[in-house]
Symmetry: C2
Subunit: 180 residues, 2 copies
DNA sequence: CCAAACATGTAACGGGTTACATGATTAC
DNA sequence: GTAATCATGTAACCCGTTACATGTTTGG
């Protein structure tokens, strides 16, 4: 139950239409909570039915017609409630780690190529985050909002740093493995 | 489509019944791919129907009766194929980061307690992983299987290390935030 | 005018989660 | 004998994914 709250957050930051939200979920909030346009439209419908958001007037309820949404007081309250409520962290679920475990049984043939590819992807993501940091968080900016946003970005940067190092280490190990 | 392959891996490591698998998914493989007993039974049924595993004979097909499964050649082949095939990494999806982003809009009231709780949980998980490392991976052990298992465990240790540091950093930031 | 891009949806499916159901074995 | 535990399942629901459908505006 996080997608509706991701949408509420995005709409509070800036009222938008479904497609605009989809675009914003390709970056920004999407960096730690991705969603497709189908999910977003489905959820916008529910949020509107629950009275958490409303379509701005002057928007015809027709297909192919842009509909802008804004958050209502009830929606803001719900988001505040959800944000403050305790939640357990989700257990890790990582396919690559599972594949390495499987490789210990059925052999490592073919994985190394994908290890290299994943390393490159994580390096690229890291570079992207670092650019955002330099562009959006110069030393002067430190309003409470900026500090929170920077904290979140820091998590992304440090996570990608961890993964790039780990994949490098993994490839070193593979180089020492017999029959590779 | 990873759960069947997690199960195949577990069954190749050691033939088991559904409940034994469930127990093993609470540790070991479950550290990076968790599953409930309902998921496991559903998937065991499918894997058997597809001819990837079979129930060992001398097991009555009755309710409440233990059924041990072993992997067939077709199952091993499928696991090898899946392990070698290229797969894209899943985008990050983290509730706590989303909550911090929401907190930048609706206020930070109430989150700090949960930050502390999560920090403690990650510290505990880290300690557990470190115990496993000391117990299962003494300097001498370095067969290819051991190296792969150790590599996976290393990912867990380094990930939890990252999270503990990040939560500590987050709490420092919160200490400097006005109105906390 | 027509193709591309914009914009909003519907339908179907599969995996993960939760609640519940049922039979067999063991401990007291 | 009966309560707890072991063991295997069924059913319903929600979310994420994929494929497809439909209408509108804009550029050439």
């Amino acid at each position: 139950m996080s997608l509706p709250h991701a949408i509420l957050t995005a709409l509070l930051e800036k009222p938008s239409s479904g497609l605009e939200l989809t675009r914003r979920f390709d970056k920004s909030i999407g960096y730690f909570w991705s969603a497709t346009h189908q999910q977003i439209y489905r959820e916008l419908g529910r949020l509107e039915a629950e009275g958490h958001i409303r379509a701005l007037p002057a928007a015809q309820p027709a297909r192919g017609q842009k509909k802008n949404y804004e958050v209502l007081a009830a929606g803001r309250d719900e988001l505040a409630r959800w944000t403050a409520a305790g939640q357990d962290p989700k257990p890790l679920r990582d396919t690559m780690l599972l594949r390495l475990r499987a490789a210990a049984v059925v052999g490592t043939t073919g994985i190394e190529t994908d290890l290299r590819r994943h390393l490159a992807l994580h390096q690229r993501q890291l570079a992207e985050y670092q650019e955002i940091e330099q562009r959006d968080f110069p030393p002067g900016k430190d309003s409470p909002q900026d500090r929170l946003h920077h904290l979140v970005l820091r998590a992304g940067i440090d996570l990608e740093t961890f993964w790039t190092r780990w994949f490098e280490h993994a490839l070193e190990e593979f180089a020492q493995l017999p029959g590779s």
